[in-house]
Each structure stands twice: as structure tokens, then as C-alpha cells.
Symmetry: C2
Subunit: 238 residues, 2 copies
């Protein structure tokens, strides 16, 4: 008999934890700026797009917007920052193509090998605010072998809504402590811990590019602290 149904669950945050959004978006912004003769800093464009993300989700969480997928929230933010960067002349088809950059972000270099190691003793799934088709395209693009793609879209609840964390446990029909959230963001982990999940912090010092410091300090309220997914797999096997 196969025993995969008995394996505990690792649920991964994706943007920043699994994939490097900054580099790909900065690179595509640089191509856009070259095409349109824009002299601004492409890194600032990437940071501005990402900075719009939490406020946009907050409009959904608060009820101001009905359920809206990240693809559509990314597009709302993009339309605004194109104005802010004096690029209002960018046409519809280019906007649509550019908005899909979030579907082709590269994984960090440790991710494919790290997931393979972790898969030998865990079922690995996503728990991302990214929508299902976005996560599916990222998996295909990066060769990420998830056992299951779960999203805020599955639960119609954006993290840190408890319905998202508890939803993972419910889908797998296990107690919350059987699920470990793996993330590079302490607020995400703290919300998961409050729901009874275990927590693993991953250091991603370059998440926001080389010019922006991020908090990778040790926090002993989390169950694991790892440099990357290969390090996490080694610690969990010890």
C-alpha cells in the first residue's frame, strides 16, 4: 500500500519564498523602459508594483472589492504605476503581456533540489495569495513538482485570513499542527502559528533586490530557521 496519505504537509508561500519576483520584474521593466525611452530605474518599478500588493488585497479583505484574483489586482496596480512612471501610452496588449510577468518568475536556485529532498518525507503544496493559473504557470516555468497547488483562490480568503491556513489542514483532513507553513515573511508565519500550524522561516535577503534590506534575523517563536530549502531539508532530516 502507498502511504502518501500519511505524510505530513509542508505549505509554501510563493512570492519571495519560492520565486524571485524582483529580478524578473526589474528585467522586464528594463525592456519596457528601453522600448519607450523611459529613464527611470527599473528596480523602482518592480518595488512599486510589489508595494501595491498588500493595499490591493486589503481592498478585498475589507469588502470594498468583491473576490478579485491577484492577476486582476496586479493589473489595477500596473495601470496606476504606468501613470506614475509617465508611461500611460503603453498599449493594452503590452499591458496584458506585462501583467503576466508574475506567471514567469524564476525560482531561487535552491528550490528545485530542495523540494525534491523535502518531497521524500512530506507532501508539498503551495499556500499563496497568487491565483491558481498563476501558480500553475510558475510551476511549469520553474519545474516545481508540487503535490498540490492551493491558493487564496481555493479558499476565497487572502492570507493572513485564518481561513487560508486552516483551509490547508481541512483539504488534507489533518490537524493544523500536521501542516508547516514555509515562508520568508514573519507576518505570514505569525498568522499561521496563531492558527496552530508549525512554521519554518527561510532567509531571502535579496527578495527586494540588492538595494533593500529585509529582516532575516532569527526569531525563536518559529519552529525552524533555514538559509534556503536545501538547508531546511537537511535540518528536517536530522
Amino acid at each position: 500500500l502507498s502511504h502518501s496519505a500519511a505524510l505530513p504537509i509542508l505549505a509554501f508561500d510563493v512570492f519571495g519564498t519560492v520565486v524571485d519576483w524582483f529580478s524578473t520584474i526589474r528585467n522586464e521593466a528594463a525592456m519596457l523602459f528601453a522600448d519607450y525611452g523611459c529613464g527611470a530605474d527599473p528596480a523602482a518599478f518592480a518595488l512599486a508594483w510589489r508595494a501595491g500588493y498588500q493595499p490591493a488585497m486589503q481592498r478585498v479583505r475589507s469588502g470594498e472589492l468583491g473576490w478579485t484574483r491577484i492577476d486582476d489586482l496586479h493589473r489595477l496596480i500596473l495601470d496606476q504605476i504606468l501613470i506614475d512612471f509617465n508611461l500611460a501610452q503603453v498599449d493594452e496588449s503590452r499591458r496584458r503581456e506585462l501583467n503576466l510577468v508574475w506567471h514567469r518568475l524564476d525560482p531561487w536556485p535552491d528550490v528545485v533540489d530542495g523540494l525534491s529532498l523535502l518531497k521524500t518525507r512530506f507532501r508539498v503544496c503551495t499556500l499563496s495569495n497568487g491565483n491558481l493559473s498563476l501558480l500553475s504557470d510558475l510551476a511549469r516555468h520553474g519545474g516545481l513538482q508540487w503535490d498540490l497547488i492551493l491558493s487564496a483562490e481555493t479558499f476565497r480568503a487572502y492570507k493572513p485570513d485564518p481561513a487560508s491556513y486552516l483551509g490547508v489542514a481541512q483539504v488534507f483532513d489533518v490537524a493544523p499542527h500536521t501542516v508547516t507553513l514555509v515562508a520568508a515573511h514573519k507576518s505570514d508565519l505569525a498568522a499561521a502559528r496563531a492558527c496552530g500550524l508549525r512554521t519554518a522561516f527561510i532567509e531571502r535577503p535579496l527578495e527586494c533586490g540588492p538595494g533593500t534590506a529585509v529582516d532575516i534575523s532569527a526569531d525563536h517563536s518559529f519552529d525552524w530557521h533555514a538559509k534556503d530549502l536545501i538547508d531546511l531539508a537537511r535540518q528536517m532530516a536530522a
Copy 2:
């Protein structure tokens, strides 16, 4: 740039179309019967379990039961057929383990290679009434490389509810005719066609075991008719 976001979608029915439920369940029923000295036919047990499936889903569709996953419906049916087969003495832990047989069904022999071929020109996903953890365990058990696992559980609507078929198109943000349902059951395909999806019929003459005939006749109202997934891949590449 990666273009996976531009690939059309194949959505697969799973029980019978992708995996052979009959053989695995008959085999595990035979082990159960040996352990409990039951002289009944294990094939009849497999057929009885499967026969309870549509009526159980109908209790959900009609509103008699609230949303209930297939794992739980399978358990309700199992408890009844254990009585019918004079096996009421089977204990709780064995029932729980036996109910998970639906998580470890083997794929038909053409499936792994067929999916690999089809994946070069399509995004491949499930659209099954099986719940998400069940489909995830089947994928792991059989080495099925889905781009995305979608389930009635995703949409809280059992096929043939239109919300399930249209839900696939909505998840991928495409028109319904960009999605092809692949199934061994004509009623499933007819319901998908009524929602504007394309349809591919797969012959699975042994779905219900060697002793039970199933309808594999040509029906020209479907877009494709294939002997198996490798045949479908060849036809679609032609």
C-alpha cells in the same frame, strides 16, 4: 519569455478515464475478504462501492446533504456495503484505511506517457469529483504530472453541474472552447459540451472489470474519439 499561459487546456476526468478503480478495489476487497473469511466476489464489492457514488453525489446536488467531499461519501457507502456483505464486524481503523483505497488507484498503462506527450502542447489539469487530497495522492502514487489539480471541491459543485466545467475556464481566464474535457463517460462529455467546452472521448472497455460491458461506441457529437491518451496525443498532433 515563457508562453505556458498561452497553451490551451485539457481537463481530465479521473475515475475510470485516468485511473483503473476496479482492479485496485477488487484486489483490496479480496484481501479484506480473506482476512474475514468472506466468500463473496470481490469484484461485486468493487462494483457496489462505485454504484453508490452517483446516488451519494445526488444527495449533495439536491441539497439533502451540505457540501460533502468524496472521501466522506465513499465512507458512507462503504459502511452500507460492509453490512450488505455481512462484514459489519470490520473495525474503524480498517474502515479508515480501506476508504483510502481511492487515493492509491493505479493509472491505466498509457496515462503517464500520454500525459507527457499532451503536455508539450497543452496545459493539463484534472476536473474530477474526487476531492483535492485524493487527487493529489493519486498523482503522487501514479506519477501524474498535472499542471493543476482542479476538483469539484474547488468549485463546490459536482459534475455535471455547469459551475464545474465553466469553473475550469474561469480559473484559466479563457473562453470555454479553449478547454477540452477528456473523459470515458459520455454523460460527462455531453454536459461539458453544453457549457461550450470541447470534448474528447477515451475508450476504457475494462473500466468496470472484464465481466461488465461499457459503452465505447463512436459518437460524432464529440470532437475526438481515442483508444487511449497516447492515441489522443497522436491525433491532436496530426
